[in-house]
Subunit: 325 residues, 2 copies
Amino acid sequence: MIRGPQAAPSEGEAGDGRADAALVAKICWYYFREGQTQDAIAQRLKMTRKRVNRILGEARESGFVQITIADPAGHRTEIEEELIRKFDLRHAIVVPVPLGGTDVRSFIGAAAARYVAECLPPSGSLGITWGGTINAAAQSLPQRSGDGTRVVLMSGGLAESAPINPYDNATMIARALGARCYYLTAPMFAETAELRDILVASEPVRSVLAMVPSLDVALLSAIDLSEQSKALEYEVISRETWASLLEAGAVGDICGHYLDSAGKPLHHPLVQRTIHPPIDHVLQIRHRILAAGGEHKVPIIRAGLLAGFCQVLVTDEAAGSKLLD
Amino acid sequence: MIRGPQAAPSEGEAGDGRADAALVAKICWYYFREGQTQDAIAQRLKMTRKRVNRILGEARESGFVQITIADPAGHRTEIEEELIRKFDLRHAIVVPVPLGGTDVRSFIGAAAARYVAECLPPSGSLGITWGGTINAAAQSLPQRSGDGTRVVLMSGGLAESAPINPYDNATMIARALGARCYYLTAPMFAETAELRDILVASEPVRSVLAMVPSLDVALLSAIDLSEQSKALEYEVISRETWASLLEAGAVGDICGHYLDSAGKPLHHPLVQRTIHPPIDHVLQIRHRILAAGGEHKVPIIRAGLLAGFCQVLVTDEAAGSKLLD
DNA sequence: CCTGCATCGTCACAAATGTGTAATGGGCTC
DNA sequence: GAGCCCATTACACATTTGTGACGATGCAGG
């Protein structure tokens, strides 16, 4: 059984030295490329079939072998066509809803990763935000050598390490791309609006934020404000804040900008405390990709689309068809 | 069982309309990404397990799903290191030799395809030559949208359709890249040197050849002159020509340029009849990749390296280690 | 309408795969 | 050197997968 790609990246595995990478590669070649049986490979390499089996399993989970499904380029799904037309997008990618218990975000993340890998030029720069979808993307981003590639995390950090942490996200993506990583060394939300302004004006936060408008690609995620919102679950925002955001008409946020259902940015007190690039800076990024799915994210995705946050949408069938209603 | 990628591309299959591409994609997602069992997928999609099974098989063979093995970038094999040092290469890729009866060329082709896909810029131009290795590459080249990508076939054609035909090669590669393809509308060898000169000077041959120096990437293959040479087997050259080439000291050719074992181009009569770009034009191509392997190709590969034909070598372990002797 | 051809579903089975459990053995600490 | 921990092996077994045989269904042409 191939477990989904969101297997916890626990346990210290730095250089992945457990099994000689060359050996793993060889086994993978024989198995996937040549179609040899695990048994045959084991005999040939003088090891147990079980060992081969385990190595193959690990190779898949760790992303050592990537299985990519042809992008039916030019042969778009109806739903993709519709989305492109309705929201005037450059491109839309709609992935199927998982059958089993798998998290949709890992599907969407994988597709987004693929797209990013394709459109991020060598030595390009990529801005990312925070979220489970981005995390999933990080895990299935194809390795690349990326000379001079830069990754910029466009949100502050969380002091208390949530299961999904902005800094982790950024680190993983940067590692996969072989990129240099720039973090916002500030909390996601400052304690007061004044402090926020001071932080944003101070180095090194200022210079990292200053990179945003000239980024090549932005990989954005959308945070919803439904009951199932991860922001709530991980206590990124308190229940009171949540309630007050809802009351103000917010449906979620993209890159820290809370939007109402029409895509208009709100002037909620929280926004004054958020460390993030201004909207118009984000909108100056040449290539903007929004990766988000799941039915509860439909309102914020729609808001983001209306606000012009993205030219490329990566989502799932469920959200995609709801967006068309 | 996953059969090797060189399954004959026989039978007319143009648009591949047998099974809805979207359906195939979905099944592949469920199976490869989510790890669902074929049975579960069949039930969910209300079809037989056998059907799912068959679709998956076809998807693999047709290259609809690609299985890529992580390039241990920066973590090179010793043999790769040595090759790079000894021949002053920019990069070397050494694939394992197949266990079973699989043709080495499909391995090498796959690796080369992957490399090309990586280094060919969007809207870039790619020059290719003729040969089984290139053919294998075509078959495992990841699909891409390639706006404005161009593929130039740098050799003439064969009138009598050999199992591996230059035009087929070019077409397949162009199709995979979504590229516009430029052919040399001339035979591989003209009947006389005079006719060759006339052809080369005439349109449209001239303008296609004129594209060569400014190509972004060249994917070159090496044709050997051993007894096992495919050129001989497919009767691309006659046995007499073959003998006379050997006598002149040739060890094979790259892009129609016959070289001796030191890499010096020969002035054999055949060369005067060959429709191909001059050596210095080929050497002006910025990014030159030589994809060839198998022990019998070692002499011509070495010659090609000495002649400076490539900065990147894709070969197999057997040839690689022989090259280091 | 019937015939021939081809594709698909059903069944069945052998091979391959994933996953336990217990035994083995190598390397480490003490 | 004894004892222990860990990883690997050997063995066994349930699932999953690939494939062949055979009948049913559907379609084109006479």
